[in-house]
C-alpha cells in the first residue's frame, strides 16, 4: 500500500470501507506528518490526541456507510468548533472558545470526519497571502519563503503538504481559489446560499461562502456533497435540490459551451498566464467543448466595487469585538477608551484599515457616493454574467494574474496586494460558483491555476468540466518535503 498521506480522499475512504486501513492508521499518519511540519506554520491549534482517541473509538464500531468514515481533517480557523478555540487568525479572539458548532463542520462530523486541528488564515479572512495572521505567516510547501496565498493559506498549505487529506476554507473574494492556485491544489467556491454561513466568523456577509479544498476534483466533489446543505439557521441559505456531486461526476462535457471573456486579458498580464489560458482553451476543445468568445464589460470595476462592499460589511460585522463579551480586553479610563484601545491593540493593521474604509463609506455624507454607487455597479457586474450565460454553460479564465509571490514582497502596498484577486472577485459579487484547478507551472516551477465559473447552483457542471480538464492537464505537483523535520 502506498504511503497513507499521499493518498487521495477517495482512495482513503475506499481503503477504510474495505477494511484495508483503519481510521487509527490514517489519523496516526496525518498526525505524525503534521507534527514534523511545524515550519509550515499551517496550524493555529492542534487537536491531535483527541483526534487519535476519536479514531480508536470509530474503529471499535465503524459505521462504513458514512461518506467520510473516520477520515481525519483539519479546518480553517474561521469555523466555530464547539469547545475548541476559534481565533479567526486574530489576537482579539485568542482565547475564544465557541459554545456552538458551525453547520458546515457539523455536517463533516455527522458523516464521520474527525477534527485534526484548526488551520492558519489571514486575520478575519482579510488578506491574500496569509501574512495578516496574528499567528504568523504560513510557508507554501512549493518552496521556502513563498506565500501560500490567502486567506485560506494554512488550509491550502496543509492539503498541498499532505498534513490533511482535505480541508474546508472560506471565500469572500478569492480566499479558496487563489491559495488553491498558489499551492497546486483544487478549491471550489459554491454558489452563495449553498453552504450555511451559520457559525462561520463573519467577514462580508453578502459575499462569504465556505467551500472544499482537496488534492483533486473527485475529492472536492465528495466534500462539497457533505458540506452543502439547506440550513434554517442561516437566513440566506437556499433550499434547492443539491446533486450527489461525486456520484454524478462525469468527464463527458461534449457540446458544452465554454465562454472566454476578453476583459480578463488584463494589461501587464505575464506571458505565462496568457499561455496557460490558451492551453486551457485547447484542452477544453480536446474534451469536446465548444469555445465561445464573450464579453463581461464591467470586469475592471469589480475590484473597486469589492473594496467598498466588503469593508462596509466588515466594519459592521466586526463592531461586536469590543472587549466585553470575547477574549481580549485592553484597559481604558472609561468605557469608550476601553473600546478604542481594545480594538486598536486587538486588531492587526489590515483589519483596522478595512474597518476604517468601511466606516468611512457608510458614514453620513458619503453613503450615496460610495456604498450605494458600489451596489449599483455590483448590479451591472451581475448583469454581465446573466447576459453571458444566455450563450454559454461555463466560463474559463486564469485563477490569478501571477504565481505565488515571496513572503514580504507585497506587504507594504495594499493596492498591489488587492490586485491578486482581480479574476476571483467578480464571482463573489455575482454570487456564482467557481473552481480553481492546477493547470501548469511557471518558469520557477511554481503552480498556476485555471478557474471555471458556473451558473448559479450549477456546481455539478463546473465539477464535470474540471474533472474532464484535470484528466487532459495531468498536473504533477512538484513538492520536495523541504520542511520535514
Amino acid at each position: 500500500m502506498s504511503d497513507i498521506t499521499s493518498q487521495s480522499l477517495t482512495s482513503l475512504v475506499k481503503n477504510i470501507k474495505e477494511k484495508k486501513l483503519s481510521s487509527e492508521d490514517v489519523t496516526k499518519a496525518f498526525v505524525i506528518r503534521s507534527e514534523k511540519s511545524n515550519e509550515l506554520n499551517s496550524y493555529i491549534s492542534e487537536d491531535f490526541s483527541n483526534a487519535l482517541n476519536k479514531a480508536i473509538k470509530f474503529d471499535e464500531k465503524p459505521n462504513l456507510d458514512l461518506k467520510l468514515p473516520g477520515i481525519p481533517m483539519a479546518v480553517k480557523d474561521l469555523f466555530c468548533t464547539k469547545n475548541t478555540r476559534t481565533t479567526a487568525g486574530s489576537k482579539i479572539l485568542e482565547y475564544f472558545v465557541p459554545t456552538y458548532e458551525s453547520t458546515v463542520t457539523q455536517n463533516l462530523w455527522d458523516e464521520g470526519a474527525i477534527l485534526l486541528g484548526k488551520l492558519n488564515c489571514d486575520e478575519f479572512a482579510m488578506g491574500s497571502s496569509n501574512e495578516t495572521s496574528f499567528y504568523g505567516n504560513v510557508q507554501n510547501p512549493v518552496d521556502k519563503g513563498l506565500v501560500p496565498g490567502g486567506s485560506s493559506g494554512g488550509s491550502a498549505a496543509a492539503v498541498s503538504g499532505q498534513l490533511t487529506p482535505i480541508t474546508i476554507g472560506t471565500d469572500t473574494g478569492g480566499s479558496i481559489r487563489q491559495p488553491a492556485s498558489f499551492t497546486g491544489t483544487v478549491g471550489l467556491k459554491p454558489t452563495y446560499g449553498s453552504c450555511s454561513r451559520y457559525g462561520i466568523v463573519a467577514f462580508a456577509s453578502s459575499l462569504d461562502q465556505a467551500g472544499p479544498m482537496a488534492q483533486n476534483v473527485e475529492d472536492c466533489a465528495l466534500l462539497l456533497e457533505v458540506i452543502s446543505s439547506y440550513d434554517i439557521k442561516d437566513s440566506t441559505s437556499i433550499d434547492f435540490k443539491r446533486n450527489q456531486y461525486s456520484k454524478e461526476l462525469t468527464k463527458n462535457i461534449k457540446g458544452k459551451k465554454i465562454g472566454i471573456p476578453k476583459e480578463y486579458r488584463v494589461d501587464g498580464m505575464p506571458k505565462e498566464i496568457e499561455e496557460l489560458w490558451q492551453k486551457g482553451i485547447d484542452y477544453a476543445k480536446d474534451c469536446g467543448a465548444e469555445i465561445v468568445d464573450i464579453s463581461l464589460p464591467h470586469t475592471s470595476y469589480a475590484l473597486p466595487t469589492y473594496y467598498i462592499v466588503a469593508p462596509a460589511e466588515a466594519s459592521s460585522n466586526l463592531a461586536r469585538y469590543d472587549g466585553v463579551k470575547y477574549g481580549f480586553r485592553a484597559r481604558g479610563e472609561n468605557l469608550i477608551d476601553m473600546y478604542e484601545k481594545t480594538r486598536s491593540e486587538g486588531f492587526g493593521a489590515e483589519v483596522q484599515r478595512r474597518i476604517m474604509i468601511g466606516t468611512y463609506v457608510l458614514s453620513s455624507g458619503y453613503y450615496d457616493a460610495y456604498y450605494l454607487k458600489a451596489q449599483k455597479v455590483r448590479k451591472l457586474i451581475k448583469n454581465d454574467f446573466d447576459e453571458a450565460y444566455k450563450k454559454v454553460d461555463a466560463i474559463l479564465t486564469p485563477s490569478t494574474p501571477s504565481s505565488a509571490f515571496k513572503i514580504g514582497e507585497k506587504k507594504g502596498d495594499p493596492v498591489s496586494m488587492y490586485l491578486n484577486d482581480i479574476f476571483t472577485v467578480p464571482v463573489n459579487l455575482a454570487g456564482l460558483p467557481a473552481i480553481s484547478i492546477p493547470a501548469g507551472h511557471d518558469v520557477a516551477g511554481y503552480p498556476l491555476g485555471l478557474q471555471i465559473i458556473g451558473k448559479a447552483f450549477k456546481e455539478q457542471e463546473i465539477l464535470n468540466f474540471a474533472y474532464a480538464m484535470e484528466d487532459k492537464i495531468n498536473f504533477k505537483r512538484k513538492i520536495k518535503d523541504w520542511w520535514i523535520k
Binding site: K325, R329, Q352
Partner: protein, 95 residues
Amino acid sequence: MSIDLKTIKHISRLSRISVDELKAEKLASDLNSIFDFIEKLNELNTDKVEPLTSVAETTLKLRTDEVKSNNIREQIIKNSPEDNKDFFVVPKVVE
C-alpha cells in the same frame, strides 16, 4: 480626493479604534491610495441602475422563535475577559 489627518481622526472615532499621530499618517497615505483606486467607479453613469443588495433572490423565511440552547450562561460568560459570575462587567459608565 484627499483624506486628511482630521478625517482620519474622525473615522477612527467612528470606528472605535484609537490612533496615534504616526499611525494616523500611515493610514492617511494607505486610505488615499485605496480611494484613488476606488474612484474609478465614477467613470460609470449609474443613475438608472437599481442597487443590488443581495444575490440570493429569495424572500426571507420566517421560523418560530424557540429556545434551543438551555443553561449555557456560564459557558458564554466564560469567554468574557473579566472574572464575571452573572453579568458582563464593563468600566463604570454612570457616575
